[in-house]
Amino acid sequence: MRAFSDCHPAAVAVCLLCAALPPMVSMNPVLLLTALTGGLLLLLVRRGATGAFLLSSAGLFLLLAMINPIFSHKGETVLLVINDRPITAEAILYGFAASASVLSALFLFRSFTQIMTSDRLLCLTGMLSPKTALLLSSALRFVPLFSAQAGRVRAARRGMGLARPDSPAARFRENTAVLSTMVTWSLENGIVTADSMAARGYGVGKRTQAGLFRFRRADGAVILLSLLLTLPTLVGMMSGQLAYSYYPALSGIPLSLPAAAAYLSFGLLSLMPAALELRGIVKWNFLQSRI
């Protein structure tokens, strides 16, 4: 079994989306805390978060939590009254829940962005539409190509003594000239690329895709497991077994059997990416230590 980030892109996407969905939809505090922990653990295991990021997310967490009591004055436990508007404990707690919901998705999607490199995303897009994947891959390739070409155009203009960036107006004119050259060049270059593609038989047969990622049995297992583990939570949310209300007073945390099953399965689902990743890292270090 490989680390989580080395799994097939489809497995990574399904697993992370399954884990990100319940905390976005449900306001159940148990689910929210579980999701927050899972997302944070995955970031930490992958060393995907800098101290600055963690600090700013803590700030964002508090900031978002404060928005709700400003706008919502429902709830019966009044803590203080500002401008004839009651600030209630329930509204503050709801604010914390909403900000946990936003933060857990931010954490999970940060890992998602780090794991889903462009080749992985292309593989995913290619499954749905090879044509869009082709468009995406050519655009992705053009970005660095154009940046490099802009540098060459700039250097050439400097070499010819055309660039005199001594005043803002002159700099603006210089940038406009570079851009103009760039656009003409990139459009022409695009046509050449297209003709070259056509000469090699683009559009003649069915489009296939080079498979960089092999779909192994373990990937299928990850997908199946993710879907199965989401099921109890989904059922719990649909049937209202997981419902938790903040207004007018906090309801008790639902603890029925279906709710407990949902907590357990969602807990496993949230921990799965971090656990698989950790397993991969430990195995890699172990193998390296034997060399």
Partner: protein, 227 residues
């Protein structure tokens, strides 16, 4: 390894999608979920993007046209790195009126997706893709007046900035509070006002700045290479 290798399956998906979108939209408004609004809007956005992609997949598009769309996408992705002012909308609109609404949709949606590789993919990505895509698609429908009258172009650029900001604010509110709360939405719009203003002004500025040179270059390429 491809899940949807099956052509028939893909075609079926294309036919099913419009029904699915309606179903989700209706279900979202009646299901007793706590935060059904967010879920429904997210799924609707993703399905709408899929619907467009399946339609695009079915059509035959010449390779020259495809590559031109990729070129415009790359240019607007590079443009999104300019601090504060973003020429993405302007380039999307210009692509749409010169190369057609479909090209406009693709340029807008793909620029959002690709630039989010750098700025972070998240639940907001489908909304951004859809918002920028629709700005391009609508510009494609309005291509004739936009090409002829500069005033129309200016008005469209300003409106697109406001529209983009308002769509993204809907998402922000939905994400935070689950349902649609008018007072939160009003607050979000007010807080985003400087950004909205900046979007609109930079859209108009870039459109005015780029319209003639880009239009000329694109028309030249179209005439020269018969795209």
């Amino acid at each position: 390894m491809m899940v949807l290798k099956n052509e028939r399956l893909r075609k079926l998906l294309g036919q099913l999608l419009p029904v699915l979108i309606l179903l989700v939209a209706v279900l979202g408004s009646i299901l007793p979920f706590e935060r059904a609004g967010l879920l429904a809007s997210l799924i609707t956005a993703i399905l709408s993007l899929l619907l467009f992609v399946t339609g695009f997949e079915k059509k035959k598009t010449g390779s020259r046209r495809m590559v031109l769309v990729a070129v415009m996408t790359a240019l607007s992705v590079i443009g999104r790195f300019i601090p504060l002012v973003k020429p993405v909308t302007a380039l999307t609109v210009l692509t749409a009126i010169r190369l057609g609404g479909e090209a406009g949709f693709l340029t807008g949606a793909l620029s959002a997706l690709i630039s989010d590789f750098w700025f972070g993919i998240g639940p907001w990505t489908p909304f951004q893709m859809l918002a920028w895509g629709m700005i391009g698609r609508i510009a494609g429908w309005l291509a004739e007046p936009l090409k002829k009258h500069r005033a129309a172009l200016v008005a469209y650029g300003a409106a697109a900035g406001v529209l983009f900001s308002m769509i993204m604010d809907v998402f922000t509110v939905l994400w935070y509070s689950g349902g649609f709360d008018p007072s939160l939405y009003a607050a979000a719009i007010v807080t985003a006002l400087p950004h909205t203003l900046l979007y609109s002004v930079s859209n108009v500025a870039f459109l005015l700045l780029f319209e003639r040179p880009f239009g000329r270059k694109l028309e030249r390429i179209k005439r020269l290479y018969d795209v």
